[in-house]
């Protein structure tokens, strides 16, 4: 089964994947990374920080420009994919398996996910 069948996507192009242990993995959608082009810089938050839904938690830069990455839900950072900071170009190859950004513990209500779209609907919305 493809990972995209299990993710929810925000309109600002972050994805949210629920893990077996009730934590969530957050990353950027493949569409977002394709639009950005060559990724050359990534700044991730410290573990332990709590963000609200919609907060900027990371910054990504392509050759052309810097973009902010927003929390699709409220959550506390449990883990960051620090290997990406040294090789942000990984994101251009894979945003899911190796290119995830952070793992979080949700701190808000499940209703925060109401405005997130399933991958197929997200893709449709882009067209």
């Amino acid at each position: 089964m493809s990972i995209t069948e299990n993710i929810l996507c925000s309109k600002s192009h972050e994805y949210l994947l629920k893990n077996d242990d009730e934590t969530y993995t957050i990353g950027l959608t493949d569409y977002a990374v394709e639009q950005l082009g060559d990724i050359v810089f990534l700044e991730l938050p410290d573990v332990g920080i709590t963000f609200s839904k919609g907060d900027t938690f990371a910054t990504i830069e392509s050759v052309k420009a810097a973009s902010e990455i927003y929390m699709p839900i409220s959550g506390k950072i449990l883990e960051v994919n620090s290997s990406l900071v040294d090789s942000p170009e990984t994101l251009n190859e894979d945003v899911y398996e190796n290119g995830w950004l952070v793992k979080v513990k949700a701190t808000g209500d499940i209703s925060e996910q109401d405005d997130l779209l399933e991958y197929e609907d997200y893709k449709e919305e882009l067209e």
């Binding site: 639009q35 082009g37 050359v40």
Partner: protein, 369 residues
Amino acid sequence: MTKETFLHDKHVQLGAKMVDFAGWHMPVQYTSIIEEHNTVRNAVGLFDVSHMGEVFVSGKDSLDFLQKIVPQDISKLVYEKAVYCQLPNLKGGLIDDLIIYKLGINYYMIICNASRIDEDLNWMVRNSKGFDVKIDNQSHNYSLLAVQGPKADELLRKMGLDTMQESFTIKPAKLCNHKILISRTGYTGEDGYEILVENRYSEELWDKILEYGKEFGIKPIGLGARDTLRLEAALHLYGNDLDENTTPVEAGLSWSIPKNKQENYNGKDIILGQLQNGCDKKLIALKMLDKNIARHGYDVYFNGEKSGIITSGCISPSLGCNIALAYVKNIKEICNGATVQVMIREKLHDAVVVKKPFIEKRNKVKIGE
């Protein structure tokens, strides 16, 4: 309304990512900016720069008119030669930067920035009062293709072109049986050519250059790599590094300004005054000491004090670090080797002042040496 060059469909067919640039729908990249950048540094790349302006100046007062509008000495410009110029306002601030080509007696061509064509034309027409001169904007009739990189010359010779010409020269020629004007100029720091052709032949030339270029590893190159290439070569981008409040002296272009030009020109007092007495700001080149990227508009600090602003910044694929240009206070302490800081997302990041350009330019070609 967004304009399209005659090569627009080619870009779309090649899968380019298209963006709006200076009112034009242009390719920013075809595959990857970094890959395209390296192609130009190591082999050869093809650019569509048809959005740029071509203005022809003719009439018996052409020379006097040009002498009035640029600081450079156009009387020294000989037939089939080109010179890098600026178009200052009365305060010495830059309306645009240009290349002027001498095509014949009382016959010149000006290539200017796409984003500035209207301002340039207005300014030229205003300044043409009393001169017997014709200012003819032909931008809409011509396409401009740039072939840039260490293999550019070999490629064009393979296509049957006798390109025995030096840098900064222009010649009428034929390519695939079509009349062109070919100039050994560019905006990448590499050797290369710019080919001016009537719109209706541009698609054919585009295809033929890509076809012949295959064996040289040619790729089409978008505006993204054009920007990283020019920045490594520390070539100014109008709107980023140059504007109407910046003089050529402040912009580090003093090398292009003759000190003994007799004729009066717009902004001469201020420009010559700055050449003699110095000015308040200067353009410096920076290498970031960490992985952060300084972008246009970020503040520059020196000894804890806000001292300037970044005008252009990006990664340098050739050097493997991040580079930038910045205007800073013209104080002697901010010199090559000095460390400054750039404010990036509310944190200061160290950068070292380095010599311009960032890379060694390879675009000076002399014949017979």
